[in-house]
């Protein structure tokens, strides 16, 4: 037995190694590049599709495309990678080699989350930087064309765009942790992906359930609404891209609260995933 192996305490190095390997797996997946390419393509289209824009100004239109890529393709990536990294490992039987080593199941769960989250961060960071570049270029062109509109300097706060990107990482991290929780119970990766998609949509509608709860005569419907409104996190809190598009900033306190809220839910779902996976037979 190797003396360097720490068997007494929770070993962050194990989680980190599994996370690093999982991250490597995700960024070597074709899906990652396909989704990134689609998102960047759609961002490029925002320049070409100005003719189709009726509802908003140019910069907001570009921002909509960038944020759309982060939330839409980001959610797909979060669900598929979390499911693939966790349940896929059981399906592919690669888990046997890893769990035959003296590592804790909790280290494995946290490692998988680290891998999925770093993949999400890489994806969102790429998109955020490309979006910022696109906005900067377009805003510079508009500044030269309409100097009177930009008499007080740039309209957009680019730090807020970066902040929004980071908040999407938090939101998608929460979604990834839920998928890991479901994968720890699941008997097929399709099941965890479907449940992940349903949770994504319901979490986005959670605030509506909060309002609607108790307004129906049906006990069944009210029970469903109660569960959705309480048991799921409110993903809608992270939809503040419109404010940024209008040049309004969110305060540091709000950013910190959103990070705290996301971290709390990630911790909850990962703890439950560990609880479920600890006794799971492979």
């Amino acid at each position: 037995m190797n003396e360097k192996l720490n068997l007494s305490f929770w070993n962050m190095r194990h989680a980190w190694l599994i996370g690093k390997t999982s991250y490597l797996e995700t960024v070597r997946m074709k899906l990652f590049y396909a989704l990134l390419a689609l998102s960047l393509f759609s961002l490029g289209c925002s320049f070409l599709l100005q003719e189709f824009n009726f509802g908003s100004d140019e910069l907001k239109f570009i921002m909509d495309f960038g944020f759309g890529g982060m939330t839409f393709f980001g959610s797909i990536l979060a669900i598929v990678t979390a499911s693939q990294l966790f349940y896929g490992e059981i399906e592919d039987r690669t888990v046997f080699t890893i769990l035959a080593k003296p590592i804790r199941r909790s280290e494995f769960v946290v490692g998988k989350f680290i891998g999925a989250w770093f993949c999400i961060v890489s994806f969102v960071l790429c998109l955020t930087l490309c979006l910022m570049l696109s906005l900067f270029v377009r805003e510079s062109i508009l500044m030269s064309q309409y100097p009177e509109v930009f008499s007080e300097g740039r309209l957009l706060n680019y730090l807020d765009v970066l902040g929004f990107g980071f908040m999407q990482c938090v939101r998608l991290g929460m979604l990834g942790s839920i998928v890991i929780l479901f994968s720890s119970y699941a008997t097929s990766s399709l099941f965890s992906i479907i449940i992940g998609v349903v949770t994504w949509i319901l979490g986005q509608l959670q605030h509506l359930a909060v309002n609607a709860w108790g307004q129906y005569d049906s006990l069944f419907l009210n029970t469903i609404l109660f569960i959705v409104s309480i048991a799921l996190p409110n993903f809608h809190l992270y939809d503040f891209g419109d404010k940024i598009a209008l040049g309004e900033s969110a305060s540091i306190s709000v950013y910190l609260q959103l990070v705290g809220y996301g971290a709390l839910y990630c911790a909850l779902y990962l703890s439950l995933a560990v609880l479920s996976f600890r006794e799971r037979e492979l």
Partner: protein, 256 residues
């Protein structure tokens, strides 16, 4: 109970507990971001669900989806297909409620174009069939006003929507009382356009309340800026003078 079932129960209890504990926090964060605005929450349930779903699934791509729906709506508009046009206007506004363009132009299409299509298709004449034409205008005005009210939920206090609401009451429903009320509502809001107050006064005159119109114009006159051409201060002064003369003449007519 098997371990698996036990963990499912624990997961549900854990998620419910954290949800209950953080519900107040969620509201606090939401208020910090969006103020006390209710957003889509105060819309009818089906519409708020539609908007929530589009946001959930499409995220930022809502705008392009809504734009495509609007483009498609233009085809229905050209064919003067009322049901299709209305459905697509509602779908575009539900998909991206943030775009004021859809609410405003949607309401205008419903209030102005749709009754005109029916009148033209049925060969109606304003002179010969005044009641039918009025009934049609009323019917479509109600729908347009409903659209504007929903638009105001998504864009609280938006002047453009409020002006359109007032114009529909005035021109389409011929309800001068409601129109005046609407213009007054606009005029009393901070940073509102100056013309709202002037139109309110003119509608009062139309309603035969010249003295009320005069009092109102006098009350706002001093607050109008001298250097803003849009405030039209000299015009208001002239109008006050005209109304005073009118009232004097009315008094002379009344006193034998």
């Amino acid at each position: 109970m098997s371990y698996r079932k036990w963990t499912i129960v624990v997961s549900l209890v854990g998620a419910l507990s954290i949800g209950a504990l953080t519900s107040g926090w969620q509201r606090l964060i939401f208020r910090s971001l969006h103020g006390d605005s209710l957003g889509t929450n105060s819309l009818p349930k089906s519409e708020s669900l539609g908007q929530g779903l589009s946001l959930a699934i499409l995220g930022g791509y809502r705008s392009i989806a809504a734009n495509l729906i609007w483009l498609d709506m233009n085809g229905s508009w050209e064919k003067q297909n009322i049901n299709e046009t209305l459905a697509k206007i509602e779908l575009a506004t539900a998909t991206d409620p943030r775009a004021l363009f859809f609410w405003l132009n949607g309401a205008r299409v419903v209030a102005n174009d749709m009754p005109a299509w029916v009148i033209a298709n049925q060969g109606l004449d304003q002179e010969k069939h005044p009641n039918t034409v009025k009934a049609l205008n009323l019917k479509f005005s109600e729908k347009a006003l409903e659209l504007i009210e929903n638009g105001l939920v998504a864009h609280p206090g938006n002047f453009e929507l409020m002006v359109d609401r007032a114009v529909i009451h005035w021109k389409k429903r011929e309800d001068l009382e409601e129109a005046a009320k609407s213009f007054l509502e606009i005029a009393t809001m901070p940073n509102s356009p100056y013309f709202a107050g002037r139109l309110y006064a003119e509608l009062l005159v139309e309603l035969g309340r010249t003295d009320d119109a005069l009092s109102y114009l006098k009350s706002i006159y001093s607050s109008l800026p001298d250097d803003d051409i849009q405030a039209m201060k000299p015009f208001v002064a002239e109008r006050i003078r005209q109304l005073e003369i009118k009232l004097e003449e009315q008094k002379v007519l009344v006193i034998p």
